[in-house]
């Protein structure tokens, strides 16, 4: 952190080293980052450090911006000043303005630097990327760094790109930010063939001119745009790169806060669709792609939740395959797999969805005369509603969708289609890698420290994070026994049991009802979570609350493992207001026990209702500790993480 602060104070020379540099520098920079980041972060120390460590990544751009804009005023660009305060947050947008100040940035040396960088794009990008991930991971224990090799280039590019993206970019702002975006967008394309500098420049100019012209017709601020146009891309680029390192201005702080305020207002979770509101349900039905039959006897308490017959939907959907033009085949496939229950578990569902989005974005091209952001957002919305019809979204998926949408919304309009797409793809990749895969690794690192020799660890159902912890602890040679508690109707524990036995871990298998019997032998309870809500409530597979409660009654510590991207600002006290209903038939039939069929013949009796809940809410006082990628925290600290994490998500 110190090392990051230092360059900021000294403006020019160091900028080049840290921000972008020729290949020789790269070898230096990596160790430098590691030195600076890894030692000060012992896994536990972390909450506030992690917050801090993120802030250097995020805060600088706005600072620079204000810096620039304040400087710009005397130079005289009234249109910019007229732009709403939003501009302050959208650092990128104002940067071109800053770039007009020739005294500061337009030095030829900088320009040269740029050219050099462009020519050798893979090199610098990589190094920057490493820097970025290092920053991100600074709160993580040392082991958490290894990205899979193929991941690297992508996350790198994203880092450089991400810094451009600011929330709440208005169209105008986007317009003005073109230059910088153009240049950088081109750079950030990992696979772009090396066209000559001149060609590229020409291309950019042409695009810019076209867009600016189009804009100028309707736009009062066109003057600005024009003037921007006249400027060379080279000048515009420099500030962009610099903004990471420019010194802090107090005003920015304010700006940042305001942004979160505004953002907070915007992001207060919408009340969910209530399915006992008939008019809205009717409307939704008209829109629906999937024809859904409602379950016969719905449980009174849960009329507000969607509950559909399971069996009828799959064939129905399959038939419709060729008629569903609006849904991309990849999304369609994922939807079907949700419906069939092939993919379950928060992470798996989320990754599958994001990858489907990636695929659809790859093959996406906006219709003429439509802005990419808007059209793509609409497209995405239709995909999401399709997925919701297949299975209600998990909270983690909701967060991921929010992330993708914000990225789309913040795409500068000036980006060419392919650039925008690459940009998005790499953003999504980065989300998957950092928020899910890396986060799991970090959680494992933390959690393994809580496993001692001779422990008896209890887990419920099948959580991917917990499974990784157990396997890792086993690899480390720790001697422990695992108690797997399982419950109907999913019996996911059996699969986990199979996998653990395959690795040679000694297991005890118990049904949920027998948990009080076994709990006296247990020394730790590890649980997964679908989400952690802001009041510390752990929203997880139904039955988790029972296990946590019994553990609490027996004085056994309960450790919840959950990636921070699953945290949500919503609060919930019970498991009824918000939940997901599963297939009721799964309860009537007992898998593998055909002799139990008492309810089959009366399944249609109007007095019989069958309730198959999917989630429940574990009160925070049953939870001793939550292990997340930001470290090990008590449940009371969840709102802090939620706040930090959201900021981080927006500003990355």
């Amino acid at each position: 952190m110190d090392s990051r602060r230092a360059p900021r104070t000294v403006i020019d020379p160091k900028v080049r080293q840290v921000g972008f540099f020729a290949p020789p520098d790269r070898s230096q920079s990596v160790p430098l980052l590691q030195n600076s980041n890894s030692p000060p972060s012992p896994p536990l120390s972390d909450l506030s450090p992690s917050g801090n460590s993120l802030s250097p990544v995020m805060i600088p751009p706005p600072r620079h911006l204000s810096d620039l804009s304040s400087r710009a005023v005397p130079v005289g660009f009234p249109p910019n000043r007229l732009l709403s305060p939003l501009h302050r947050f959208s650092g990128e947008s104002v940067i071109p303005v800053g770039s007009y100040n020739p005294s500061e940035f337009a030095s030829p040396s900088v320009g040269d630097f740029f050219e050099e960088k462009n020519a050798q794009s893979p090199g610098p990008r990589r190094s920057r990327g490493v820097g970025g991930s290092g920053k991100f991971a600074s709160s993580l224990p040392a082991g958490g760094f290894e990205l899979p090799p193929e991941v690297k280039p992508k996350s790198l590019t994203t880092v450089s790109v991400v810094s451009n993206l600011q929330p709440n970019v208005t169209e105008k702002v986007g317009e003005q930010s073109n230059e910088s975006q153009d240049g950088r967008g081109a750079n950030s394309k990992p696979l772009k063939e090396k066209t000559s500098k001149a060609e590229r420049r020409a291309l950019q100019e042409a695009q810019r001119a076209a867009k600016a012209a189009a804009k100028a017709e309707g736009n009062a601020g066109s003057g600005v745009a024009n003037s921007v146009n006249t400027k060379a891309g080279k000048a515009s680029k420099a500030p962009v790169q610099k903004k990471d390192n420019v010194s802090v201005a107090a005003s920015e702080k304010r700006g940042g806060e305001r942004m979160t305020d505004k953002d907070r207002k915007k992001d207060v979770p919408h009340p969910r669709m209530q399915f006992d509101d008939t008019s809205r349900v009717e409307k939704a039905k008209k829109r629906a792609v999937v024809k859904q039959t409602e379950v016969r006897n719905r449980v009174e308490l849960f009329r507000h939740l969607p509950q559909y017959e399971h069996g009828t939907r799959l064939p129905d959907l399959e038939k419709k395959f060729f008629r569903l033009n609006s849904v991309h085949p990849a999304v369609y496939k994922v939807g079907l797999r949700y419906l069939a229950g092939d993919i379950s578990g928060g992470n798996a569902r989320c990754i599958a969805m994001l990858q489907a989005f990636q695929e659809s974005i790859m093959e996406y091209s906006p219709p003429k005369e439509k802005a990419l952001n808007r059209d793509l957002t609409a497209k995405l919305n239709s995909y999401v509603s399709f997925l919701i019809e297949c299975r209600p979204l998990s909270i983690s998926m909701g967060n991921a969708i929010k992330f993708v949408k914000s990225r789309i919304a913040n795409l500068p309009l000036t980006l060419s289609e392919s650039e925008a797409k690459t940009n998005l793809l790499s953003e999504i990749n980065k989300f998957i890698n950092e928020k899910i895969i890396l986060a799991d690794k970090v959680i494992v690192q933390h959690a393994v420290t809580k496993v001692r020799d001779g422990d008896v660890l209890l887990t419920y159902g099948s959580s991917s994070a917990v499974e990784m912890i157990l396997l890792h602890a086993h690899e480390l040679g720790k001697k422990f026994r695992v108690v797997i508690v399982d419950a109907r109707p999913k019996l996911e524990g059996r699969l986990l049991l199979r996998r653990l036995l395959g690795k040679g871990i000694s297991c005890t298998y118990v049904h949920l009802n027998g948990v009080s019997y076994i709990m006296s032998q247990v020394t730790r309870v590890f649980l997964g979570a679908s989400s952690v809500l802001a009041n510390g409530t752990v929203y997880s597979r139904v039955g988790t609350a029972c296990v946590a409660m019994v553990a609490n009654a027996c004085g056994v510590p309960v450790i919840v493992c959950c990636e921070a991207y699953k945290f949500h600002e919503r609060v919930q006290l019970d498991s009824i207001c918000c939940n997901e209903l599963g297939d009721p038939d799964a309860i009537l039939k007992v898998q593998g026990r055909e002799e139990i069929n008492d309810l089959k013949d009366i399944a249609n009796d109007e007095n019989l209702q069958v309730l198959n809940l999917t989630y429940d809410a574990t009160p925070s006082d049953y939870v001793s500790m939550i292990i997340t990628d930001y470290g090990m925290i008590p449940p009371t600290s969840v709102p802090v993480i939620v706040r930090e994490f959201r900021k981080d998500q927006i500003l990355i």
Binding site: I505, C507, N513, S575, L599, I602, L611
Partner: protein, 415 residues
């Protein structure tokens, strides 16, 4: 004699093989068996009661050993022993107390008669069981055995008046046997009728539009709920299915057959649903002297959840389930592990269940306990066939039904 041996043996086998399940059925069969044993028992001229008690104890010990977890067996054996002692005492007092009849009977008339119109020893015993005797100064002052004698002397008054001075040994022994058998018959009837007795109280506990949660299956619970339904109470029942035996399905079917609105939920959803539940009503396997409950597996979880949400946790139990023992580590010692095949398919995991892993220990253990122990602090109320009781009151009920000499059925190894 041979007959009874064969019978006892047969019953023992059934118990050992767990052919008989359910505490009520077991209790009834045990009582019937003991009745035959008593009727077949040849009684010596002296110390008849002692001989009977010894015989019953010997059999009782075997029965308890056959299925130590089924506490109802021991309970019934103790009840029968208690009955024998009672009857013997009453006969003795009638024989000895003949001359002093006037004194005692006067006394007793004041204290007891007006409360309990006395018909026979059995009736008195039953009435004593069904309601508590009002504490009288006398009973408090007299020592324990005397008070018991006094108690029964009241009953013997009529008998002794009817058959005055029947000092003939033969008739006395016949009378003892006869009385005992009659009382045991009553016990059997009590056991059979405990459902109705408990169900009668349903209206007092279930109100309109309530939501009631139960787990597993219990005949008593079904009768209780249906009794409330018959009284035009409309309410809804959540039935947790009670894996791995899924008795909840049977219960749900029964309830639906009787027209109750029933919702079947998984066991895991208990915590989620309990916040909307007004009352938890469950059956029990046995009630211990401290007020703890040995219950079908899963109920401890339900009780904890109920406590968390301050939902009353009501246990229905016939008196025959009341066990005079104090539990120690009941969740292990009074538990039974059932076949793992109820949880896992042997075929699927057979390679993990043997000790072929080389370490000597199989990798996979499957625990399938049959019972849970619910500590007394989690129980709000017991409803028995003689009314509702607090868990803390259970020890006192025990004094009414069992004599202290019988609490330990096992004979000393020396003897």
């Amino acid at each position: 004699m041979l007959d009874t041996h064969a019978l006892v043996h047969d019953f023992l086998n059934k118990l050992k093989r767990r052919k008989i399940e359910g505490s009520k059925g077991t209790a009834k069969l045990t009582a019937e068996l003991l009745r035959t044993v008593i009727s077949q028992q040849r009684i010596p001229n002296t110390n008849q009661a002692g001989a009977l008690v010894d015989a019953i104890k010997a059999i009782g010990e075997q029965l308890v050993a056959a299925n130590p977890v089924e506490l109802a067996v021991g309970n019934v054996v103790r009840r029968v022993l208690h009955i024998i002692r009672e009857e013997d005492l009453s006969l003795m007092t009638s024989a000895i107390g003949g001359p002093s009849l006037s004194v005692i009977s006067d006394d007793e008339n004041d204290v007891d008669r007006d409360d309990y119109p006395v018909l026979s020893a059995a009736a008195v015993a039953a009435s004593a069981r069904n309601a508590l005797r009002a504490p009288s100064l006398q009973t408090l002052l007299e020592d324990m055995s005397h008070s018991a004698a006094v108690h029964h002397s009241s009953s013997s008054v009529d008998d002794s008046e009817e058959k005055t001075k029947s000092t003939d040994k033969n008739s006395r022994s016949r009378k003892l046997k006869h009385n005992v058998i009659e009382t045991v018959n009553e016990l059997i009837q009590d056991i059979a009728a405990c459902h109705e007795q408990i169900a009668e109280q349903a209206v007092e506990h279930i109100h309109h539009n309530e939501i009631i949660l139960t787990l597993g299956s219990s005949r008593t619970v079904i009768e209780f709920l249906c009794a409330a339904k018959e009284k035009k109470r409309s309410f809804r029942v959540f039935v947790a299915e009670g894996a791995p035996r899924y008795e909840g399905h049977i219960l749900a079917k029964e309830l639906i057959g009787r027209g109750l609105q029933t919702t079947v939920i998984t066991d895991s959803a208990v915590f989620a649903m309990i916040s909307r539940v007004n009352m938890v009503i469950v059956g029990a396997h046995a009630v211990m002297a401290n007020g703890g409950v040995i219950a079908p597996v899963g109920l401890n979880m339900v009780a904890l959840a109920a406590q968390r949400h301050a939902v009353p946790f009501v246990v229905l139990a016939g008196i025959h389930k009341l066990c005079p023992l104090y539990p120690h580590k009941p969740e292990v010692l009074l538990n039974e592990l059932r076949a793992p095949s109820e949880l896992l398919d042997f075929g699927e995991f057979s390679n993990c269940m043997d000790s072929s892993t080389g370490t000597g220990f199989p990798l996979l253990h499957v625990a399938n306990p049959a019972f849970d122990y619910v500590p007394p602090k989690l129980v709000s109320l017991f409803i028995t066939d003689n009314g509702g009781h607090n868990p803390s009151y259970m020890y006192r009920l025990i004094a009414d039904y069992y004599s202290a000499d019988d609490l330990v059925l096992q004979r000393k190894p020396a003897s």
